[in-house]
Each structure stands twice: as C-alpha cells, then as structure tokens.
Amino acid sequence: MKNLKLILAMLAFIFAIGLSFAFMGDTGSGAWINYNGVPTELELDPCQGNGNDCKVVFEDDPNQTEYTVYTDDTLSQTRKSNNPEPYIIP
C-alpha cells in the first residue's frame, strides 16, 4: 500500500481524538463547599495530600471569602491539602 504510513499516522490522530473524548471527566469531584448556605459541589478537586485544611477562594469575589472544602454534601468532614494557600477558582 503506497500511502500506508500516512494512513497509519492519520489513524493514530483519530485514535487520540477518541481517547480524549473517552477520558473526559463526567464524575463528581468529591469536593463540597458551603456556598451561601447551600452545599455546592465544585467542578474540580482542589485538595491534594494532607497537612492543611483545604480551602478555596473565588477569583472574582471582591471579599476573597475562603470556603472550607468538605467530602460530601453533609458538610461534616473537612478535606485536607498539602497546599497552605487557598485554591483559586476562576
């Protein structure tokens, strides 16, 4: 086959496209905050490791309020993080 190498390379590209769609995250982050009295799940998990209380701030919040992150919507158990600073969420 004359163009086998080109076809193989294009197939590899198409495979990568399929792979990226297959691994798109659709499960919950497992990170909850008390946002204005409402348990709210974050889109991503900002807590990695242990050592410090895991907290987040919203970048566009003029008050830069720090929200403690919890494991679930009962807001009973806090998450830990190795980052001493609050995670900035755009």
Partner: protein, 154 residues
C-alpha cells in the same frame, strides 16, 4: 547495530506515531477541558499567575496539536520532531521543578496521565525527551545530514 540501521526508518515512524497519539490526546484534552487546565496553571506553585495561565491555556494545547499534525506528513516530520523535543524539554523541566523545588505538590489532574505520580511523570517525560532526540538523530541520519556541522576548508 546492523539491526538498528536496517530498521531505523521503522523506529522513527513508531516514535512519530507515539508522539502523534500523545500530543493530539494531550492537546485536545486541554482544549476540551480548558477551564480545568487554566485552574491547574493558575494554582501552580512554580508558574502560577493569571497572565501565565491565560497564555498557557491556549498556547500549549495549540502547540501540541500543531506538532501532532506536523508529524503526520513525511515532509514536515523533522520539524514536528524538533517541536516534540522542545515541548518534552519544557514538560520535563516543569515536572523537575515540581518534584525538586515546589513547596507543595499540586494536582496533576487530567485523563490517563493523572494516574501517575509526579515522580513517575518526570521519568516518563525524560524517556519521551530521549526518544524525541533519538528520532531526530535517526531522521537526520536517514537524510544523510550530519548530526554535527563539520568545518569545511576553503
């Protein structure tokens, strides 16, 4: 050595296919979940900052996709390999800085690679960098271009 010389073109082709899958996947993932990638860079202990995050969230995935496309065609393959080597050098430098100099380890979230620890990530990046350099060297050999420029007397 004879085996290597015989299969040099196959090795280069295989390396190119690997890089096509790697960079196309990485670039598309970063574009499809751009806000997550922006978050990661924004909160990076090494880079951080709004400006760097804004720049990287567009420049990096587009560069990766460009390199993947360049590697598809034989005429542009060598340029693509140079691009792959530069990107791998950047990624290796970043993971090196995270592992040895960062005050804390951030989340390495995203697709298949998130299953690796930062140390494993560093080893993988170093191996891929060596692979890119080897593919460049083999490509230049195939074309008959000397690896080093030798001074020519006049």
């Amino acid at each position: 050595m004879k085996w290597y010389q015989k299969h040099r073109e196959t090795i280069v082709q295989t390396a190119c296919l690997l890089f096509i899958v790697l960079f196309a996947y990485a670039g598309l993932t970063k574009l499809l979940e751009g806000h997550l990638f922006y978050d990661s860079i924004r909160n990076s202990p090494i880079l951080g900052g709004k400006a760097m995050a804004s720049l990287a969230s567009w420049a990096l995935p587009l560069s990766e996709l460009a390199v993947a496309l360049l590697l598809i065609w034989k005429k542009t393959r060598l340029i693509g390999l140079y691009g792959a080597a530069v990107l791998m050098l950047l990624f290796t430098g970043y993971t090196l800085a995270i592992v040895f100099f960062a005050p804390y380890r951030p989340c390495s979230c995203g697709g298949v690679i998130s299953l690796l620890s930062w140390e494993q990530h560093l080893v993988l990046n170093a191996i891929l960098l060596l692979l890119a350099l080897m593919a460049i060297w083999s490509s230049l050999k195939n074309k008959g271009i000397p690896w080093k420029k030798t001074p020519q007397g006049r």
